[in-house]
Structures are given as C-alpha cells and as structure tokens.
C-alpha cells in the first residue's frame, strides 16, 4: 500500500513571498495603530520618533525575510513532488520566484510612506 504523504510545504512555497508580504502589511498597520496609541510621538518630531523606528524595524525584518526566501529560491530550488515531471517542477520554481519578486516590489511600494510621512499626523 502506498503511503506517500503529501508535503504541504511544497505547495506553500509557491506563495511564501506573499505570505511574508501579508505579514508585513498586518504588522505595519498594527504597529502603526498601536504605536500611535501607546507611544504617542509628537508631530514636531517628524520622522525621528519611536513609531517610525518601530515601523522601520518591521519593514527591514520582512525585507530580510523576503531576501532569505530569495536566497533559498536561488540556492535550493523546490524538490520534486511524488511523480512530478521536470516541467512541473520548473513551473513551481518560476511561480515561486515571480511571487517573491512581486512581494519585494510590493513591500517597498507600501513601505516607502513610512520614510516620508510623520506617522501619527492627521
């Protein structure tokens, strides 16, 4: 009787970049909301304030995570699934890379306002 258990991680890796992007999105929004509530920076501080530092930290951690995933993608391509053809494996590798590139672009795109706007003004 065959007992080849399916590896959920193989499927997960295809969208891993966007999972990190989602985490960044949630953490940035939550960090911003809670930071403004409990760290209460002054608007006069401009970008030199604890909330911006917190958000910068969140941003960099996620950028690092995405870079790490990029390294994994480059150095250790996805392993083949049970009975998988090389073309199928190449496809998953391609999607994983494209999703990573898209996620890094997305992180930079939604993250850049952190460095341009005082967080709690408005």
């Amino acid at each position: 009787m065959k007992t080849n258990r399916f590896n959920l991680g193989q499927l997960f890796r295809m969208g891993a970049g966007l999972v990190v992007w989602s985490s960044a999105f949630v953490c940035l929004y939550a960090g911003f909301s809670l930071g403004c509530q409990y760290l209460t920076p002054s608007v006069d501080d401009g970008l030199a304030n604890p909330v911006t530092y917190l958000l910068t930290g969140i941003f960099l951690v996620h950028l690092l995570a995405l870079t790490g995933l990029g390294g994994l993608w480059w150095k250790r391509p996805v392993p083949a699934a049970d009975g998988e053809s090389p073309a199928s494996r190449d496809f998953r590798h391609w999607i994983e890379g494209a999703v990573l590139a898209f996620s890094i672009t997305g992180l930079v795109w939604i993250g850049f306002p952190i460095f341009m706007v005082a967080p709690c003004a408005g």
């Binding site: 009787m1 992007w21 049970d82 998988e84 199928s88 898209f102 709690c120």
Partner: protein, 840 residues
C-alpha cells in the same frame, strides 16, 4: 471482431451503470440530489431569478430618480429598495452564480466525475435558497432591510433601526454565507485533489487556478463579515455594546469587519469572470494563452493583495495621513496583477488568429468597460480625489463599471460560449448581437452619466433631489439608459430560451476548444466522462488527437463500474499523479434536513424564539454528526484496479483523502474567524473611546491555567490515539475517553470564568467582547469533547483501523487548533488587563 464487439458491449453496460449510479432519483427524490451538474444548474437558475428581481428593483430606483421631486417612491420604500438591490445583486446573484458555474464546470475542466463533497454542495444550495427566501420574504412583508447593503452602525443598531429590518439582513446574509463557506471548502479540496491523471498544477486549466484562488479568498474573506454580523445581531438582540461608542464600543469596528470582507469580495466576483475570459480568449484566438505562468502568478498575487485595500472605503472617516498613504499605495498596487492578465489576453489575441464569434462581442464589451472601471478605481485610490467623490454617484458609476463590466459581460460571453455544451444546441447570432448592443449602449448611457452626476455633487442614497442643481438631464439620461439596458437583457433572455428550446443540434466541440469539458457529450452525461482522461498538456483536445473517442471507448481511467460505487480519481495535488480512488456519496436527504435545522435556528433567532433557535442548532449538530457517520469504510480493502495498469487504494485508506483537505480548509475558515475576533478585541482596546472599563476579569489564577492545561492535554490525548492506532497498540480508546473528559473540562473552565469573573456583558464593550472570546473557546472545548467521543464510537463500530485513520486525524487537528486558541485567548484575556489595562 467478436472481441471488439464484446468490448463495446461491456463499455455500453458500464456507461449505462455509470448513468444509473450518478443519476438523481425522480419525484421527491430530487430533493436528495447531490450531483454537481444538478446542484450547479440549480444555483445558476436561482441566482438568475434573483438577478431579475435585483434588476427590477434597480428599475424602480431609476424611475424614482428620473425627474426631480418625484413622489413615485417615498423615502422608506426607497431605502428598502436600494438596500435590497445591493444585497440581492451581491449576495444572492453574483456570488451564487459564481458558485453555480464553478460547481457545474470545475469537475468537467479537471476531468473528474463529480466534486469531492457532493453533499456539501447540496447543503450549500439549500442554505443559499433559505437565506435568499428570508431576505425576499421580508421584502414582500414590507420589512426589508433599509440601512444599505453595508449595514453601517450606528444606523443599523437597535437605537436607529428598531424594527426587524436589519435583523433580516444579518440573519439572511449570514445564512447565505454559510453556503459560500461550504463552497469554498468544497472547491479548494476539489481543485487540489480531484483532478484527472497527469493534470499537474502546471497543466491545470487556468479556470482551475482562478477558482482555487477565488475559493481560498472566500475561505478567508467571508469570516470577518460573519463575525461582524454575529456581533451586531447579538448587540441588537441582547444589548451587548460592541459598536456603541457610549459603552466602549466603536461603530468603525463594523466598517473594518465589513470591508475586510467587502473589498476582497470585488475580486472574488472578478476572478471567476476573468477565468472564463482566460478560457475563451485562447479558443477564439486559436492559440494557447500567452503568458500562462504570468497569469497564474498574477492571480495568486491578486488573491493576497486584495485583502490589503479595505481601508480605502474608509478614507473619509478620519484616519492618520500615514494610513491613508499606506492603503492608497496598496490600492494602486493591485492594478498591477490585473494589468498583467489584460496584457496576456491582448497578447494572445495579437499573436493568434482571432475569429469573430458572438461571445467575442461580449468579451470586447468587457475589455472596454472594465478598463474604464479600473481607471476610475485608480482615481478613487487617490486620497484627495476620494475625499471629493466619496458617497457621490461617481462611486456608484465606478462600482457598476467594475461589477457589470468585470463580471456580467464576461459571464454573458460565457453564456453563449457554453450554451452548445450545456444545451446541445447550436448558437444563432443575430438576436444575441442585438442584445449585446442594447446592453452595451444602455449600460454606458446609464452609468457613464453617473460619473458626471457625482462630480457635480449628487450624493448616493438620496431618494429625490430638487430642481436647479444641474442634475436633471443627467439623471434622466441614466434612467432612459437603465430601461435600454433592461430591454437588452430581455432580448438576451428570449434569445437563450428560444435557442435552448428549439435550436438545431450542435456538432461536437463547435468552437474547436482545447480543454477537457468539450470532450464530453453535448449536453454532458451525469457522470461526465465514460473514462477519465490521462492528459499530457494544458489543451488536451488540441495536443492529444483522438482523445474524445478514446474516452468514450473506455481506454483511460476508471472505465469499469464495480460494487455500485461512484468513483473518481484523486491525485497528488502538485504532480497530478493518481494516488487514490475517491468513492463518492450518493443522493441523500441529509443536506436538506441539516439546512432545514439551520433554518429553524436562524428563524428562531430572527423572531426572538431563542429556545427554538437553540433546539435548531442542536438538531443541526446531530444531523451533521449523522452525516459524518455515513462517510468512511467499515473494513480494509485491497488496492483497486484504476485502469491503464494502475492499482490504487480507495480514499479512506489514503494518507491525504479529500476529507483531510476539507478539514484543513475548514480550520482556515475557523482560524480567520478567530484572528478577526482578536483584531476586534485589540481594536476596541486600542482605539475605541470609553476605555478602560470600570473593572476587568477577576478569577483565581489557577482557573485559567487549569483550563488551558485541559485543552492542551485533550489535544495530547487525541494525538496519542492517532499514534496508538497507527502502531496497532492498545490504549487508543482510553486516550479518547481522556480527551472527551478534558474537552468538557476546557468548556466548563471557560464558562466558569465568564460567570464568575466577568462583569455583565451589557455594561461595557470590554465585558461583551471578552465574554464572546471565552464563549468561543468554551464552545471549541465542548466540540473537542464531542469529537473525541464520536471517534470512540467510530472505533467501536469498526470505521477506524491502522489504514483508515481519518476520523482520528481530523479529531486531532481540531483538538490542536482548540488548544492553540484557548491558550492564546486565556493569555490575552488575563495578561492584557495587567499590562495595559489602565492605559487603554
């Protein structure tokens, strides 16, 4: 010769058997139907009926606004009609139509005989129908919802909507959403697991990819609205002040919960429409879609990014600049994957040899209108413009350009595209072309002018307006356009009915498409394929000549019938290699009965008969357990012949049967609900006015520790039961008894903390939301106990063995999830007051 004729005779007998096995019983037996084609058609037909109703409501609105100072409708009637128009179109037409199309076509595209949980689809249909009838019935009774399809608080709260109207919306829509969740679980498990041999992810038709992502979005997107609806209904029924700013609640929490669902909803509607475009464009361009990989990547990206835009519906509520820029950036970013899909379609047409057919006309309508809607969407993503246009007719115009352009036009194209397959009739073009031009011109006449009406300042949701504001001719043009649009739809309906009833028989695969659904008979048999294809490309009908004949001759998988089983293939989700034979359940009344018990639950709540409601909930649970009892095998079976020299285990003896995937997906639904609840809990704590409350939870420190420990040990017990079962050791029943007791202890522990440690939930939002959170944990503890006991019964009845362990593994997953949420919740409930209580 005789061997050949004997083979043909055997095949004829097998196909006759297949037809009998997959058929729906006649007469009242139709209520027990579970076949995906039957359920899909029912979804489609009922959703079209609701579309007609929603359209008629729109006509009333346009008639009212045609001239200034009109007294055709009064304000109350207008409020009910615009609320019901939006509700019907979004919840009773668009989503169910997607569900119906997916249920009908997904197995056909994937080369399967049915979905993996046919009874779940039937259950979803009944929930949809009952929920829709509740909403429709309220309209007939004159108590239809009247607070807008978004139900903003405090307008929809008890103070300002004291009647039953808002309750009808909350109950009816939640009932319909149960259906959507069932659909999501069904489709995720089916697309991943129930495909034909050789159909790897890289060879899966794009329709499968789009529906997989849509189903995942529904799984994650609907729980926030279900949670919001439950909280608001509890507030209205029992005065727990989740959204009451005077008592520590926050009306904006509702807006967050609603739009956490509401914005992804737009993409949940758009993606399936884009799916049918991606299937039609290659057929009519007579070449494979350009950039398949790019499209897959962009669909996956859309699925994620669409959840990051919800606040752009709330730009005017007063939020800091950084949040505005943050969500504005995300809103613009989502245009990127959509643009990739557009360029893929255009490139395919550019590089192909397009032929002009009726569906293409509707596709060009889609391309034009949806691009316009997308551009106004980018305009609205810009904060300064959004502030000016918010709540004006400009937004009404934009959303109709997106939804009608991006959803209705592609589906009208699909209607003509699939009509020969579904009806077996040939398409005659002229009336369909007339219908297109009427719809296209009528649509633009109606909604293009609304951009201008909005820009000159007309707000939405006003039942009339005065003269001299410059809105008169614009509104009149929109109303005239609305009637032209309706005439177009009427022409289309007549055309379809005439062609289905009296059109000529179509030839096989009239569009010369490359995908599997066209390999079936026109109309398809109830079992779809006489044998399940072995595919080696994305367009098997283009690349595997003679495939249709081979399938009919039974030379592929599962051509033979045996034991009265309904069979389809299960595959490795990535490689598409067959790894199990899935035995499908036959017709059953259980879906209808279970949905009926839920109807008792919902109606009891709606009418304030809470004991009846509780009885309905318990009866639904019992029906669910009875339903689960009918699944699985009570003995181990040897591997079965699947054809083409392949021997496979039946799914109950496989490591990852569809039930396992369904459980994982169900837990994602539950987890999303829980995370959204935590979001609400923390949101109220951090943002809502009127905090901190006068008092926090007070319990003996040992009580939460023991409760959390019981939850963890209950999960441990189920884990041990799985291990013992796999090793063939004794002790699994004892472990299950322990888990049963510990699950109940968890439940009692949570209940005890609510009763003994919390202030009354009506006094402050803190007590209300904490009670809800602990109640959620307590309910999960109770369910852990019930599931562990159920597993014990299943072992006793012989449904569990070392090979057949799904019951235990499902129980373990549930118990582990419960342990996690109980530990996290108790940690938050008992540490937050200490850490930040006073500064909240």
């Amino acid at each position: 010769m005789s061997e050949h004729s004997s083979g043909a005779g055997r095949m004829a007998a097998d196909t006759a058997d297949l037809a009998r096995l997959f058929s729906t019983p006649p007469g009242l037996g139709r209520l027990a139907a579970v076949n995906h084609s039957v359920i899909g058609r029912r979804f489609i037909l009922v959703s079209i009926l609701f579309f007609i109703i929603g359209g008629l409501l729109a006509m009333l609105l346009r008639a009212q606004l045609a001239i200034p100072g009109n007294e055709f409708l009064d304000a109350d009637a207008y409020n009910q009609i615009f609320t019901m128009h939006g509700t019907v179109m979004m919840f009773l037409f668009a989503i169910p139509l997607i569900e119906g199309l997916s249920l009908y076509f997904i197995p056909k595209y994937l080369g399967a005989r049915d979905l993996c949980f046919p009874r779940l689809s039937a259950f979803g249909f009944w929930c949809y129908l009952f929920g829709g009838l509740i909403l429709l019935g309220s309209m007939l009774a004159g108590v239809a919802p009247d607070s807008g399809w978004f139900m903003y608080t405090p307008l929809s709260s008890g103070q300002y909507s004291p009647g039953i109207n808002a309750d009808v919306w909350l109950i009816g829509v939640t009932f319909v959403e149960v259906s959507a969740i069932a659909f999501g679980i069904e489709l995720v498990a089916t697309v991943l697991k129930v495909r034909t041999g050789g159909m790897s992810l890289s060879r899966m038709p794009l329709f499968g990819w789009y529906i997989l992502i849509t189903a995942l979005m529904m799984v994650v997107g609907f729980p926030p609205l279900i949670l919001g609806s439950i909280l608001l209904e509890i507030e209205r029924a029992f005065q727990w002040p989740f959204f009451d700013a005077a008592l520590g609640g926050d009306p904006l929490l509702w807006q967050h919960l609603f739009w956490l669902f509401g914005h992804p909803e737009v993409y949940i509607i758009f993606l399936p429409a884009a799916a049918v475009v991606s299937m039609m464009v290659p057929t009519f361009a007579r070449r494979p879609l350009a950039g398949y990989n790019w499209v897959v990547g962009s669909v996956v990206a859309t699925g994620f990014i669409s959840f990051g835009l919800w606040v752009h519906h709330m730009f005017t509520v007063g939020i800091p600049h950084l949040a505005l820029v943050f969500f504005s950036a995300a809103s613009m970013f989502v245009a990127l994957p959509t643009a990739i899909q557009f360029f893929a379609w255009l490139t395919t047409l550019w590089r192909g040899r397009p032929v002009r057919r009726l569906p293409m006309l509707y596709l060009f309508g889609f391309l034009f209108i949806f691009v316009c809607g997308g551009l106004t969407g980018v305009m609205l993503a810009l904060v300064p413009f959004n502030w000016q246009a918010h709540d004006t007719h400009f937004v009404v115009a934009h959303l109709h350009y997106v939804l009608i352009g991006g959803f209705v036009f592609p589906l009208l194209a699909a209607l003509y595209y699939w009509l020969p397959l579904v009806s077996g009739r040939r398409i005659q073009g002229w009336l369909g072309s007339w219908a297109f031009w009427l719809i296209f011109i009528g649509f633009n006449l109606t909604f293009f002018h609304m951009h201008l009406t909005g820009l000159v300042g007309m707000p939405r949701r006003v039942y009339t307006y005065g003269e001299g504001l410059g809105w008169e001719w614009l509104n009149l043009a929109s109303s005239v356009g609305g009637f032209v649009l309706t005439a177009g739809f009427a022409a289309l309906l007549i055309d379809v009915v005439v062609q289905v009833r009296s059109g000529q028989r179509t030839e096989s695969n009239p569009w010369n498409a490359g995908t599997l659904e066209w390999a079936m008979d026109h109309p398809p048999q109830v079992y779809n394929f006489a044998s399940l294809p072995k595919v080696s490309s994305r367009e098997p009908l283009w690349d595997q000549p003679g495939l249709e004949e081979e399938l009919r001759a039974g030379t592929h998988y599962l051509a033979r019938t045996r034991n009265g089983w309904q069979e389809t293939l299960g595959v490795n989700p990535i490689s598409g290699r067959p790894d199990q034979i899935i035995l499908l359940p036959g017709p059953s009344y259980l879906p209808l009965v279970t949905a009926s018990m839920l109807l008792v639950f919902f109606l009891g709540f709606l009418l304030g008969f809470y004991w009846i409601s509780a009885a309905g909930a318990i009866a639904a649970l019992v029906c669910g357990l009875r339903w689960a009892w009918t699944c699985g095998l009570d003995r181990d079976l040897p591997e079965q012949d699947a054809g083409r020299g392949l021997k496979l285990p039946v799914h109950a003896q496989s490591p990852d049967p569809p039930g396992w995937w369904g459980t994982i997906t169900g837990l994602v639904v539950n987890g999303t609900f829980y995370i959204t609840l935590l979001f609400g809990y923390l949101y109220l704590w951090a943002v809502a006015p009127g905090w901190p409350p006068e008092s926090f939870i007070e319990t003996p420190p040992l009580l939460p520790l023991l409760t959390g420990l019981a939850a963890v040990l209950a999960a441990g017990g189920l884990h041990r039961a799985v291990i013992f079962n796999g090793d063939g050791r004794t002790g699994r029943r004892l472990a299950l008894v322990a888990s049963t007791v510990l699950g109940l202890v968890t439940s009692v522990g949570c209940l005890w903390q609510i009763v003994s440690g919390l202030p009354a939930p009506t006094g402050h939002a803190y007590a209300a939301v904490t009670t809800f959170l602990l109640g959620y944990c307590g309910l999960h503890g109770l369910m852990t106990g019930i599931i562990a006991f159920y597993c014990w019964l299943r072992i006793r009845a012989g449904f569990v063995s070392a090979l057949r362990s799904l019951d235990l593994r499902v129980g373990r997953l549930w118990a582990m999830y419960t342990a996690c949420v109980v530990v996290v919740s108790l940690g938050l409930v008992h540490t937050l007051p200490v850490l930040i209580g006073a500064s909240g």
